[in-house]
């Protein structure tokens, strides 16, 4: 049940990051075009818009990668063979990601408030719209990692009961 919901959420994020990556090209292309054609009356807002989209792309991508477990890690010590070993090894990593996520979500609220007292210079957009990506990403990592952790426990229990 929760797994299905989270899968859906992640699908939504996937669609969003695809659209945003496409959208990223627009202000940059507009910047080049404006310089040569003068069609778009720009006062440097292209750069601002591009970086706003950029921040969101990175934050959304980081959440998807926690769900997919595709953040790069380094395999210095060998993979644990036993069921308990795997539980400890992978569980520890997930717990640490949860800690980092909660840290970001918690202090991200302050960070969003800090954004809310600022308006971007060109677009006069309230900066909370971008700063809020920080606590959202933090919460995303924490929730996704927590679900993966619960799955890990499930697998461990199944393996243990199968062994008995």
């Amino acid at each position: 049940m929760i797994g299905t919901i989270l899968e859906r959420v992640c699908l939504g994020l996937r669609v969003l990051i695809g659209v945003l990556t496409f959208a990223l090209a627009i202000p940059v292309a507009a910047q080049v075009l404006a310089r040569y054609t003068g069609i778009i009356p720009v006062y440097l807002w292209t750069e601002e818009l591009a970086t706003f989209i950029f921040v969101w792309v990175v934050m959304i991508g980081s959440m998807i990668a926690v769900w997919d477990n595709t953040h790069f890690n380094v395999e210095v010590i060998p993979e644990a063979k036993s069921a308990l070993g795997a539980l400890i090894q992978q569980g520890l990593v997930l717990v640490l990601i949860i800690i980092f996520g909660v840290f970001f979500a918690w202090y991200g609220v302050e960070y969003t408030k800090f954004g809310a007292i600022q308006n971007s210079v060109m677009l006069r957009a309230n900066m909370a719209w971008t700063h809020i990506s920080v606590p959202i990403a933090g919460a995303g990592w924490a929730v996704f990692a927590a679900y993966r952790l619960s799955e890990l426990f499930k697998t461990y229990r199944l393996q243990r009961s199968a062994a008995q």
């Binding site: 910047q31 003068g38 720009v42 006062y43 440097l44 800090f114 600022q118 308006n119 210079v121």
Partner: protein
């Protein structure tokens, strides 16, 4: 929590104040900060010490604004007003192009309290306290090809600073302001994406912009105002006697900084000219530029509800 009271031995509490500069020891802003250290140290004695991060190792000026607003990592810095525009859009008004008639006018404004409304606005919106005014660089056009009259200026593709008023004024004087990030300016001029930009002598010299834009046109469109600012969070934590010392030292250090930079500015132009790095020329119709920019300034001040302030500055 940038300000730290280390409870030292024998019950005496020592205060450390931290600053950051984008530049090395030779730059006027760093010298201003050092002068502030000296003045405060002399007045307050051994219970205070100072630390400084140079060469932008902690970030650029917009990062310093963030740190000061939060009261983290550093306590005070010198910076361009445009960096604080995210908190209060009226701040860049204090050194918008063609605001000051000449150095005397500029000095008169900064030695008075005419900018008080902007200071209050900044303190309220960003919790950053202006304690003095440095600056004094004269901004001129720098371009790959010479720009000496209105004809050559017409449609001149140039990079301007990231504040709407900058783009508006340079449009008004018939140039074509362009969107280029500051750290792409060098490459953009070199390859001809843009034809020039505007800046002060120190930056042109330090960042070697003369290599790509050796033609300096003395439009003298701006004399820089660089507030010496302290985090409100730091300032309120200081003992009352030290607060007074800080305010006094801020004013004096700012004035000293202005003296240093405004005299260095002409010197630096001369150095570059002597070294054959730049060619300096006058702009034939500077009056025309003023005339074109005044309506834009008026409209901008009206939009910000700062018409009285603009009138007061002009009247100084």
């Amino acid at each position: 929590a940038a300000l730290t009271a280390i409870t030292a031995t024998a019950g005496s509490a020592e205060i450390t104040l931290r600053a950051a500069s984008l530049f090395d020891e030779n730059h006027a802003y760093t010298k201003t900060l050092r002068e502030f250290e000296r003045l405060v140290g002399e007045a307050y004695g051994d219970e205070i010490s100072f630390e400084m991060h140079l060469n932008g190792e902690l970030g650029d000026e917009s990062d310093f604004v963030t740190f000061l607003q939060q009261g983290v990592a550093i306590d005070y810095a010198v910076m361009a007003p445009s960096n604080m525009a995210v908190f209060a859009p009226s701040i860049p008004l204090m050194d918008m192009p063609f605001l000051f008639r000449d150095l005397d006018h500029w000095n008169a404004v900064l030695s008075s309290d005419v900018l008080k409304p902007l200071e209050d606005k900044l303190y309220e919106a960003a919790d950053i306290k202006v304690i003095g005014y440095a600056g004094g660089g004269t901004r001129n056009l720098a371009s790959a090809e010479p720009i000496t009259n209105m004809d050559e200026l017409g449609g001149h593709k140039m990079r301007v600073m990231g504040a709407p008023i900058q783009a508006k004024i340079f449009s008004a004087i018939t140039a074509a302001p362009s969107a280029i990030a500051y750290n792409e300016v060098y490459n953009a001029i070199q390859t001809g994406v843009i034809a020039g930009f505007e800046n002060e002598a120190a930056s042109i010299q330090n960042l070697k912009f003369y290599e790509v834009a050796p033609n300096i046109t003395l439009t003298k469109h701006a004399i820089t105002v660089r507030p010496l600012v302290m985090s409100g969070k730091t300032f309120r934590k200081l003992p009352e006697d030290l607060q007074a010392i800080v305010l006094e030292a801020g004013l004096a250090a700012g004035a000293a900084g202005r003296e240093i930079e405004s005299s260095e500015d002409a010197l630096k132009l001369q150095q570059m000219a002597d070294a054959g790095q730049i060619t300096v020329s006058e702009f034939a119709q500077r009056d025309k530029l003023l005339e074109l920019s005044i309506p834009v300034q008026d409209a901008y001040a009206a939009e910000l509800g700062a018409t009285d302030l603009l009138t007061a500055i002009r009247a100084k």
